[in-house]
Amino acid sequence: MKNWPEPFNLVVCGVGGQGNILISRLIGRILTAQGYIVSIGETFGAAQRGGSVFSSLRISKKRLYGPLIPEGRANVILSLEPMEALRQMKFLGNPEVMVLSNSKIVQPVDVLVGRDNYPDFDKLKSTITNLSKHAWFVPATDIALDLGSPIVTNIVMLGALVGSKTMPISLKQAEDEVRATIPDSQIELNLEALKKGYQAALGADAA
């Protein structure tokens, strides 16, 4: 990659249960296989139950970094839920950050209860776009539902990340990792999800 920032910091975020851990590990292993030194930090446990979750990936050509990204230093934010992308930008964002987000929202419990309001989606989208270098919004949940399984929403987003060309990952490398990791009965579905996400990012206008 040209202009490699040392280290490269990727954030994978979303809502507990959306599968951010699986894709962050897939990405970690793809990059490790290429010789990068990758460190992933995760929080799970109580946070799984509907809370905000995120994994941080520190990707280096030189040394092992700690899992925590310093303020303002995210290079790419991959989000399974749009407001969660903005939540991570709050601390880690900068004018050069690239953001890829699922466009399907998940209402926080305070919104369900009526104690709070989910932000207007168009405003959310334009804010993310204004505060980043490029932003992609991918209808990943809808694509996954079309494929018959909302569970693969995360894999659609992984495909979108590959399609965005923001990271040194080819479609073939991602496919190989899916084949190596996902249980045999689910491989075809996941490869299809990966491809649909890849195409969606290529087709989506980088705002």
Binding site: G50, P108, D116
Partner: protein
């Protein structure tokens, strides 16, 4: 490590997986633990090796029993591991303090206790710092700064344990246990041994004074060993302007901070991995290098206090120590690169911002107003949501202001934004029953409120039983609700004595909660939380009974476990917008609070999120206008 296809001699491992792998490579025979975030993956990782590598693996009923089992294996000449979270170490501590006094019986056994702390309390009710407990219980303590080092330190911990004939403690923490990186794998090789114990010898901590004197001597020998350990490292100039002394999570944060500020030519980094006994001479040697020191660690000022102690012992005055006690590093919470950056910038009088002030202003003006908190909530289809719904209704109808004592598990989410906040007192594992036992005996002081304790099935076995026996024998008056979802759900669905399976998934004798409670002298009722109306009636009835210890078992399998096994929705639900009263009611979303049921602001009525709904059908029963229809899936 599980479910991954092999890739030769390296593997991408979680910190906990690397710790478990090291134990396997060290040739352990026995592994035990009680689940607790962030420690649970250690025992889970060993499970697949039980058969092929001949390891006894168990989920113990609690951490004290886990340590006792592991120690028994060591007394019999074997290698053992016990793993737990910080709270669990407190449960085990009574045994471990005595174990330090006896040592491991000089039978070639060895034992490592791994404790995983949770700085910031990501998944805990506290962020207690276990390092003190190693010192308190006279146990040698190692603390890794990275996953590769965790693996090496684990291997060394077993060697130390065998050499000094005592258990060794290794402290991990969330940012190590739940981080992952590429790890070199070595062969798993177990020494074939014939386990045995010597019946002619009595091993005990008596006479305590003599044993204590021996322990002090042992620790002095270990301290000498630690002074020379290659795991304690110094990097930087010979005569730096400032030395940063760190351990654990602090080290990689310090590396980030020094790199960000570009000051690696003028500051040194002393990383300590052997924290008890504290390597005083090594630290004293570095105290001679310069006059200013920053101590970067989490949670408590453990290293800091020991550095100050070393300073006094070494007769060194005029040194400046920056850290938690000077306010340069926050006195609580995790260590982060930014916390170290800000301390260093302050000490050195440097200006530093992670990003431009202009961008920061834009974030504050544009992003902040759009970000809504995302509080924790029970999963869609969770039986606990239905149980707490029934409890709330029954308590309201009872009108006597019942008081609830809570416990630790998924039902703890009751006090988070998605819950009902019915639990009035909430502390440690099993404390709900103990607190209720106390409250239920305050009648002579005019205490008239009904007392209800809630706990989960795994928690019941872990620590509620003695408290319930206490309540029965002391004639306390309470209702103990056991939310039996047939799993230790919060930590990853581990089995427990009531599930009828063991850690390996094999059939095990099933201990029925109701049989046990009856034998203890409790009156027992069993109900299904998904039968909401009947559950409310049952709770009201139990409240009216008013005296004695009444146990109500709310039994329904955890929805995530069911989905895993069955993978289908039993019912489909739909909202009839003709019957839905819209904004004037909104009970389903504002009070029942299932993520599968959302409010459609545009249309003004409830709707079902098909991608989230798990098909439990309970919402159809709580709608007062029968506007939610459920249909069984054929």
């Amino acid at each position: 490590m599980n479910n991954r296809k092999s890739r030769g001699t390296t593997s991408f491992l979680l910190g906990n997986e690397a710790i478990a792998r090291a134990a396997l490579e060290a040739g352990i025979h026995f592994a035990s633990g009680y689940p607790g975030t962030p420690s649970s993956e250690i025992i889970r990782t060993i499970v697949p090796y039980a058969e092929k590598s001949n390891v006894h693996v168990e989920w113990s009923v609690n951490e004290k029993v886990a340590c006792e089992g592991a120690a028994a294996a060591a007394f019999a000449g074997l290698r053992s591991l016990a793993a737990m979270k910080n709270a669990g170490l407190s449960v085990a501590l009574d045994f471990l303090t005595h174990l330090s006094m006896t040592g491991l019986g000089a039978n070639n056994g060895s034992m490592v206790v791994v404790v995983c702390d949770d700085p910031d309390g990501h998944s805990s009710g506290d962020e207690t710092d276990s390092r003190w407990l190693a010192r308190f219980s006279y146990a040698p303590l190692l603390e890794p700064s990275s996953i590769p080092e965790a693996k090496q330190l684990m291997r060394w911990a077993f060697e130390l344990s065998a050499e000094y004939d005592c258990h060794v403690m290794l402290r991990s923490y969330t940012r190590l246990s739940h981080a992952s990186t590429l790890i070199e794998l070595e062969e798993i090789r177990q020494k074939g041994v014939q386990s045995h114990t010597d019946s002619s010898v009595s091993i005990s901590p008596y006479l305590a004074i003599d044993k204590h004197a021996d322990v002090i001597k042992r620790l002095a020998r270990i301290r000498e060993r630690f002074e020379d350990s290659s795991f304690n490292t110094y990097e930087g100039p010979d005569r730096p302007e400032l030395i940063i002394i760190c351990g654990g999570s602090g080290y990689l944060c310090v590396r980030d901070a020094v790199e960000s500020l570009g000051i690696d030519q003028s500051v040194g980094i002393l990383k300590l991995a052997t924290l008890w006994p504290f390597p005083k001479q090594l630290v004293a040697d570095h105290l001679a290098r310069t006059d200013r020191f920053l101590i970067a660690e989490e949670v408590d000022p453990y290293i800091e206090i020991h550095v100050k102690e070393t300073m006094v012992d070494d007769g060194r005055n005029g040194k400046q120590i920056f850290g938690k006690e000077s306010g340069h590093i926050p006195a609580y919470g995790e260590i982060t690169p930014d916390r170290v950056i800000s301390a260093l910038a302050d000490i050195r009088g440097m200006e530093y911002t992670g990003r431009s002030a202009e961008y920061g202003k834009k974030i504050a003006a544009q992003a902040d107003p759009l970000i809504v908190g995302r509080g924790l909530a029970w999963c869609p289809g969770c039986p606990h949501r239905a149980t707490f719904w029934a409890l709330e209704k029954a308590i309201k109808q009872d009108r006597r202001n019942a008081y609830l004592t809570g416990d630790i598990g998924c039902y703890t989410l009751d006090v988070f934004p998605g819950g009902k906040s019915l639990q009035n007192l909430l502390h440690a594992m099993g404390s709900g029953a103990g607190l209720a036992s106390g409250l239920g005996q305050l009648g002579r002081f005019g205490y008239e409120q009904p007392v209800i304790a809630v706990c989960g099935d795994s928690t019941f076995f872990h620590a509620s039983i003695p408290a319930l026996i206490n309540a029965v024998t002391n004639r306390s008056n309470l209702i103990q609700v056991v939310l039996d979802n047939q799993a230790t759900a919060m930590t990853g669905f581990q089995p427990h004595p009531g599930t009828g399976t063991n850690a390996l998934g094999q059939q095990a004798p099933k201990i029925e909660i109701e049989d046990l409670c009856r034998a203890m002298g409790c009156r027992v009722t069993v109900a299904d939380p998904f039968d909401v109306r009947s559950s409310i009636r049952t709770i009201r009835h139990l409240l009216k009974e008013d005296t004695g210890v009444r146990v109500l078992i709310m039994r329904r399998t955890c929805e995530l476990v069911r989905m895993r096994e069955e993978n289908f929705k039993p019912v489909t639900v739909s909202v009839d917008d003709e019957k839905c009263k819209g904004d004037e009611c909104r009970i389903c979303t504002s009070e029942f609070r299932c993520p599968g049921l959302v409010w459609d602001d545009l249309e003004g009525y409830a709707s079902i999120r098909e991608d989230i709904c798990s098909g439990c059908g309970v919402c159809a029963d709580i709608c007062p206008f029968n506007a939610i229809a459920k249909e069984e899936v054929a």
